[in-house]
Symmetry: C2
Subunit: 191 residues, 2 copies
């Protein structure tokens, strides 16, 4: 492997944010999942979460077309289990959900450990998830249409989180735990 | 029509930004076009542009599933014609293009009349468009993957443009020309 490639991998790992993630609540269209995983990679998220009750996750996964190569995708069989897993790991869960209590995304602090929960294309965020979440967040809209595309919202949230974290110096030194850094470095060098 | 509905339509029209738009350069997947049109609506863009050489635009359009109801979609048969049309109307064309001369999107002024040109899913921005554009803009990425989804980038650019325009007071009073305002109001009330 060329030294430039190794340097690039290190640069990427040096910026990864282990305490920033996305969890999708039955988002079902592969192009949306794929776009979300690409955005995770671009916005320094090393690992994301997918709630997908169907057994047939392999097919689902394959259709996401390699975009998950640089982002680990964890599958959870139910919303409750996915959220419990993240809470145990210390994440605050913010559901992207157009509810009365939702706060605009540029008025919340995303430098805390944050998992954004994204709702399904048709059904939106499930009642269960809306209740289990620690809070609700919205991207304010100026138009007539009721909602944005789910992958678009995920990217807007992650990009705001990165903006805040850059300002707070989170990109100035590696934040991955040593063991995770070494494992990811090895996986990237010997795929 | 209920008074609340009329008030809502007026509120939306009061914020529309006639000098902010998107032009897609052969973007071909309906879910991407559809997501882009939804973002235009949400980020106050009254009218967008699509370069699509194929004759069969009706099918293409139908598949965008009603999201174009609140945003006029103008079709252009070639990139050159689309860009010429926008330049004639006073737009500065910024191609979302990962070139050496591209500038980060949060360091450019989007309060000027601005059209963001978006490249195709596989081919990216055509050479022709890259040359005809007044400048190139990028969304900086922190990861390994080479690019973001095209509808994700369009939304990030429009949301930054709205942020700047809100700060500059562009949402404080109507900006549509009177005749356009009346026409859009009529169309919205009697669809
Ligand atoms: C297409 S929307 C679902 C719309 C669904 N009909 C509803 O009422 O919730 C899919 C998901 O995208 C996210 N979303 C869309 N627009 C949003 C916005 N403006 N703010 C926050 N989240 C949004 C939410 O997570 C939502 O569940
Ligand atoms: C999937 S990308 C095209 C990738 C193509 N292989 C290329 O090399 O250009 C589709 C379009 O999304 C936009 N895009 C994607 N990521 C971008 C980024 N980080 N900054 C600016 N534009 C981007 C560009 O308009 C691009 O043409």
């Amino acid at each position: 492997m060329k030294p430039e490639r190794v340097a690039r991998i290190r640069e990427v790992l040096d910026r990864r944010q282990p305490d920033l993630t996305i969890i999708t609540d039955r988002v079902s269209k592969p192009h949306n999942i794929s776009a979300i995983i690409r955005s995770c990679d671009a916005f320094a998220v090393p690992e994301c979460h997918v709630v997908w009750p169907d057994e047939d996750f392999q097919t689902y996964r394959r259709r996401a077309a390699g975009s998950q190569h640089w982002v680990r995708v964890n599958k959870h069989p139910s919303t409750a289990e996915g959220i419990a897993h993240l809470k145990e790991r210390g994440f605050r869960i913010l559901a992207a959900h157009l509810s009365a209590s939702a706060q605009p995304y540029d008025q919340l602090d995303f430098t805390q450990p944050t998992a954004f929960l994204m709702g399904a294309e048709l059904e939106g965020v499930s009642n269960e998830a809306a209740e289990l979440a620690d809070g609700h967040v919205i991207v304010p809209m100026q138009g007539m249409v009721e909602s944005l595309n789910v992958s678009v919202v995920a990217a807007l949230l992650l990009s705001e989180a990165c903006r805040q974290r850059r300002q707070a110096g989170f990109f100035d030194q590696p934040r991955l735990a040593d063991a995770d850094y070494q494992r990811l470095f090895f996986e990237a060098c010997y795929p």
